[in-house]
Symmetry: D2
Subunit: 369 residues, 4 copies
Amino acid sequence: MNPTSPAATAPARAVTVHRTRTMKAIVKATAGPGAEICDVPVPAPGAGELLLKVLRAGVCGTDLHIYTWDRWSQGRIKPPVVLGHEFVGTIVDLGPGVTEFRTGERVSCESHIVCGHCIACRTGNGHVCENTKILGVDVNGGFAEYVVVPATNAWRAPSNVPIEVQGIMEPLGNAVHTAFAGDLSACRVAVTGCGPIGLFAVGVARAAGAAQVIASDVAPYRLELARTMKADAVIDVSKESFVDRVQQLTEGRGLDGVLEMSGSPQAVRDGLVSLRNGGRLSMLGLPKEPFELDWNRLLIFKGITLHGIIGRRMYQTWYQMDNLLRSGRLDVRPAITHVMPMERFDEAISLLRSGQAGKVVLVPWGESA
Amino acid sequence: MNPTSPAATAPARAVTVHRTRTMKAIVKATAGPGAEICDVPVPAPGAGELLLKVLRAGVCGTDLHIYTWDRWSQGRIKPPVVLGHEFVGTIVDLGPGVTEFRTGERVSCESHIVCGHCIACRTGNGHVCENTKILGVDVNGGFAEYVVVPATNAWRAPSNVPIEVQGIMEPLGNAVHTAFAGDLSACRVAVTGCGPIGLFAVGVARAAGAAQVIASDVAPYRLELARTMKADAVIDVSKESFVDRVQQLTEGRGLDGVLEMSGSPQAVRDGLVSLRNGGRLSMLGLPKEPFELDWNRLLIFKGITLHGIIGRRMYQTWYQMDNLLRSGRLDVRPAITHVMPMERFDEAISLLRSGQAGKVVLVPWGESA
Amino acid sequence: MNPTSPAATAPARAVTVHRTRTMKAIVKATAGPGAEICDVPVPAPGAGELLLKVLRAGVCGTDLHIYTWDRWSQGRIKPPVVLGHEFVGTIVDLGPGVTEFRTGERVSCESHIVCGHCIACRTGNGHVCENTKILGVDVNGGFAEYVVVPATNAWRAPSNVPIEVQGIMEPLGNAVHTAFAGDLSACRVAVTGCGPIGLFAVGVARAAGAAQVIASDVAPYRLELARTMKADAVIDVSKESFVDRVQQLTEGRGLDGVLEMSGSPQAVRDGLVSLRNGGRLSMLGLPKEPFELDWNRLLIFKGITLHGIIGRRMYQTWYQMDNLLRSGRLDVRPAITHVMPMERFDEAISLLRSGQAGKVVLVPWGESA
Amino acid sequence: MNPTSPAATAPARAVTVHRTRTMKAIVKATAGPGAEICDVPVPAPGAGELLLKVLRAGVCGTDLHIYTWDRWSQGRIKPPVVLGHEFVGTIVDLGPGVTEFRTGERVSCESHIVCGHCIACRTGNGHVCENTKILGVDVNGGFAEYVVVPATNAWRAPSNVPIEVQGIMEPLGNAVHTAFAGDLSACRVAVTGCGPIGLFAVGVARAAGAAQVIASDVAPYRLELARTMKADAVIDVSKESFVDRVQQLTEGRGLDGVLEMSGSPQAVRDGLVSLRNGGRLSMLGLPKEPFELDWNRLLIFKGITLHGIIGRRMYQTWYQMDNLLRSGRLDVRPAITHVMPMERFDEAISLLRSGQAGKVVLVPWGESA
């Protein structure tokens, strides 16, 4: 991103140290529920790769799926694999051919490792590369002392934001991608679903100039977090009608956009109802199963645009996120509710299950929070 | 559109003639199946309106719905109403305040009468105006000797195309709108559903520079028409797998876009499967009822954009259509399979029911085909 | 914009009052410098028009040009004409056919009266209508007790902003149009030139989510106002190098966009130099005369997009502006430095000449500030 | 682009052959006019690179500049360097780490070698990478028997087009990039300047669905070529007024777009005059020196968008071009007027100087035309 510096030779001592010892990591070791803390070899960076000392790592709903070993995990995960796809680290070694980074730099990481030569990659849609491999899912990830990533996946972390925020730029990027998938500035938008990415989306929408940001969820705990992220209004859809409240809050104008983060069929339908004609709904939340839609009434007669969103635009989303963070416009700290040692991963998983958490950030062995 | 001419005073004789007699019209006279040919008064243009002598009028699937008096019709139509929302006519009288037209000009007509002051209208989305009234549906239409339309709905018909084509610019505009809702030039697209608008869409996609145009339907008759509209390939989905054939026809690349004209759940799903990641599906066809989708697999993981399409952009779509027709790039004559006297409306309806017709055009009383 | 109300019959008394007396107005009475306060008849609204009681009106650089009777004015203005193209008023009478407004409503006005049927109007570019007439320039404007405007030019003023702000939505719309001509959210932008529209642009860019807003001018007075409008940094280009300072302020990254409000050739060139490759420069400021550009170095090799901006998108810009004001995100009061009686128009002109003013707002006869 | 095949081991014989001999190449050997045919070592592909046996190579105006050693060349070229930045070749060897290609595949090449980590590269603007190196300009190019290119710069050549066309996809991509920089389908456009890229642009605009394509130049020879590329009309601006003729040809509507390929100040001005309000002018032609513009009249009052264009979008432009060629929609053979042995490079340069040539394609030593 920044003017490149000459690639410093990795200090010999550093190399020696990490090559000669093992490290602790959270590993999906077998095809079944749970995850183990294991000693595994410190990996070595190949051509075009970086070795990072992990500083912070975020826990994601996907990690929960993998932990519980749900259907999706059973089809996708090939144990053993080190988990963790959200993290920031310090570069401690450079693989052959890396010139744009040097050791000592701190980088956040895009989790999608893409092929660069499929149609998607070649047409500016790398985020839906047909050959995507995901760190912490398909290849070893960042719930460990060290992780190897392609240099192209590394983004110099804005130095003015707390290390916890640097650690969760990957899911924050999901929110930025969704928010920027359509008009946002001067728009009235709703964020449906206030899990961590929804909470981030509230903050992003505010920072990026939305005129009104309404957040909805079923959990008072999350709605309270949405308020701290500067939602103009929150709707508890377990108690109130989303459609009615939006109607009221927008003085009958309806929404220009919906950022769908819940995967709930009802949220999608209510969002579509509440959009003004010509509006957009961008879906990041993954529905648990197929559901039906009254296409005529909700989509076609209203002239709606619906976006399927996954990952982050590579790397326009990172550029936008970097600008928002570096400028101080966006502050997502209120959405990070827990920071705990990586050692206590099982507890982090329990927290996620409880619903009494925003984003949970882990501190690896040897790092102090 | 063109440099305006001074508003000629409507010749007194013309006014006299049409004011003093009645005219024949196809009227939905009562709340039940069928339609009648009636004598009704020739309407008079109000402020900002035009009186047209109808030259040609197209029959639409919507007319079939109204004729059969289906559930939608029962909720929407308030008899008596003169049917017909696709037509071209000659201006024979100008209401007060009309300055941009003069009598004698031939105009095709936008069927959506919009309010101009709702949010949709004010933000360039007049096609989804919240207060839309449709000619031939909500107000008297063009299956008649004369019709009154707002001057703003009139578009000077390109003089180089046959009068039948001038008569069906409204549904042709649906096809243009759908085609131009996303990238088209240099793209591989499929048109799913080869009714009249689908057939038009094949022609539009070819004229507008699509690199490959694949048409699908279940009816050999329609697929043959699609060929005459210059589809590069056709797929009979009653006999072949859409997905497999597209895979083969695109050499594994997939489609950049789908123009959905059938309303068939299977067509939507197959279209989504066949899109390359990052592609778009634009839905104009109206599904008969709600249907479900595997959102994750078909939309979100692929980063698809889905458009709900209705009407025509007012009036960008007309401008694009005008350019395509005026230049001779687009020739939709092969899709117009029948031209018959308006008197034989019942027969036209039967033709539509049979599926053995493309676009059917009617010639009003007193006009010769 | 809002749900329409039934058109109330204008109270007979009100009509009587304004029809039977004359009003005071600032009139360009003869082809020469200056302007006169005259008694002229209160105008009557024609079909589709509104009669407004003027509440506040802004003075614009264009008014200064007309006052001094410069070359442009000599070619354009046909005296006598009532000046004033920025204003807010209360509807006191409705012409025939107006249904979407009622008397008593307060509306701000678009100054461009457009034809609605040229190619520009028909393709969503009404702001560059080929037949534009401008209120206060080509037809009588709002420096008067009453003014007649087409109903379509009226926009319900957001009730939560001060009346002075309601009075200058026209020039504020110029700023919104320029700001939204390209990417803005999460972008680093410069506003070059801090006259009233430049000052507004600073506020708009902040409210709309720009990550960094840098303002430049040659006048310390204006730069100070830019600070009050929340510019992140200001550059006095009479003392500092724009290019060097931007380089420093953006940490070498350059600008994503430039909103050019000065018409200065140097500002355009410096702006282009300071853009990152692929950025955009949107020109609203009118250069005094043609000037040259090193096209290769400044535009082509950098892949820059350059926009010519005039007027306001009709009416997307008004919608965006309305959202920004109504939500409270945008506060432009600091840019309004003077509010004075319309009677003191000559003094307002002197203020503009002095450069010691932001936006100057006039209060008509009979209104109290 | 296509499904990747396992990287075949380069046959031992091939490797042996090219490593053990030198090759012929056209080299800018010294800092002065001219170029020499030299024997130089066959290069070896590094990590991520390909060695190509050159099959065809196009001669560009840039080569003429370098040959004549103009001011630009003196500042940019560091002799010795092998010239040639437009070419197609067969892969004969793969550097370490290349997995998406195998030997024997035929690839056309992007000439811009970009860094991948500057802001431009990271935001989808690799074509204006701040660290661009150009093949045949900054590093050894394709006027030789063999050339080394980064694998990422290689594009599988469409097999259905003649080898000469495969050889000039780089400049054809300039035309595609310019054409697709704004609306094109259903638009009336002019291509100003009918050198090879202008001629290509005429063909691209036709294939991509422009409704009217008008070509202008000062040379009857080139205008005749423009006709063979299917221009709807041509204007000899040495004899006719561009503005008047366009006015006539578009029946007073004006142009929607101008693809500026001449670098002529007059062409830019006339193009802007002839655009409808709201149109776009995309500049690829490089003006010889700075020139002035009447910004108000030509750009701002008309609401024009002006694009600086260079290179090709990486790799959306290649994808679009591939689709157009592979489908057979685009045939640029008429613009290739000469195919000659690379040995006769001096003669090719003379042809370019004479203006009596479209695109000139060279056949390397050992290949038969």
